[in-house]
């Protein structure tokens, strides 16, 4: 089973509101993660413009030699993306599950301010369970 390196959530204006890294590979400091987030936000927007077909919703998967980047954008404009080992399966499903966790444990928390960085313990707990390898395998049923 391949590994997930990191998870990012960016708000609709491109600000990084959540970052978490898993495992040793691809670890970075806060500045780098912010840079990746805003870079991805812009690249995603540009890809929509460059697309020869109309109604393109942006890059969903970026495959590189050393990592895969899977991105999911909700209709409200929030982007969730994971960086993982090349060839990792079921990442689309995982991103959908993370979106659900975000709606349950972040948006329903009355003390969470919209568009602001996520500091919700319940979200962290549920998230770490969801990204466990075995759980991810279950999604691929």
């Amino acid at each position: 089973m391949a590994a997930i390196y990191s998870l990012y959530i960016i708000n609709k204006s491109g600000g990084l509101i959540f970052y978490k890294d898993y495992g040793s590979a691809g670890r970075m400091d806060t500045n780098d993660s912010l840079r990746v987030a805003s870079l991805w936000h812009s690249m995603h927007a540009i890809s929509q413009q460059l697309s020869p077909t109309t109604g393109c919703s942006g890059i969903e998967l970026l495959e590189a030699d050393t990592f895969d980047l899977h991105c999911f954008q909700s209709l409200t404009g929030t982007k969730f993306f994971v960086v993982c080992e090349p060839g990792t399966q079921h990442m689309e499903s995982l991103l959908k599950v993370i979106y659900e966790l975000y709606t349950d444990y972040v948006l329903k928390n009355p003390f969470y301010e919209m568009e602001m960085p996520i500091r919700c313990e319940l979200f962290d707990i549920n998230l770490s369970q969801a990204v466990q390898k075995d759980r991810v395998a279950m999604l691929g049923r």
């Binding site: 209709l75 959908k96 979106y99 709606t103 075995d134």
Partner: protein, 257 residues
Amino acid sequence: MVPKIDKLVNVLSTADKDVANFQVKLYDEMTTIEGLTEDGMYDATTMMATKLDLIREFFTMPNHHRKRDLIMAPVGPRSGDAIFANVERVNAELFTLTYGATVRQLLTDLEEVEEVNKQLDQMGYNIGIRLIDEFLAKSNVTRCVDFRETAEVIAKVGFKMFLGVTATVSNWDADGTCCSIILEDNPLVDFVELPDTCRGLYYCNILSGVIRGALEMVSMKTEVTWIRDVLRGDDAYELQVKLLKQVPEEYPYKDDE
């Protein structure tokens, strides 16, 4: 004969015994997950039976997580009924009474009925801008082609999912930007009679705010007003939803220029 088997079992580590135990119990355990279909149970059982790590994980999961992973696993748009059957719900009476208490408290605090209407609408708006994401995440609906489809989705999936009732859409205007959402049944008003002092109150004004807020997050500016209200002596609840402006989402945003 029997003692021999016992010995054989003892050779296996305790962890392996657990797993063997789990395998036997797996299907029974599946049947406790409310809302999982026969086929779903079968699929999930066969999928897990051979995967030892997965089985161990499954048995330590709380039921609502199993539900999310096994039933809610994303597969195309889901009907309002299907979602309603699978989300956690609260007692309807608790919900109705809590809303009643909120409206009562607002009336006491703000004194003016007009102010209460405004406050309820604002509260609804604040709920709507967050609720929309839950709606999208759990219903798996994709982008609507036009406002007509949007209205249908709100009435058929949205109302069902969050309030357990369905609404009908009618009274479309010629250019398809204004319609009525009609509610026959409204769980908010179960025990309510409006006194004469509150004649101007739109008791369910929170709902109009929710719709306005939710649609604004998917770039539709709308105006939502009450046309009919059973509490005011009409025969149904009718909300008029008027599309004012559709903000394009594409870059560059207009105000950046």
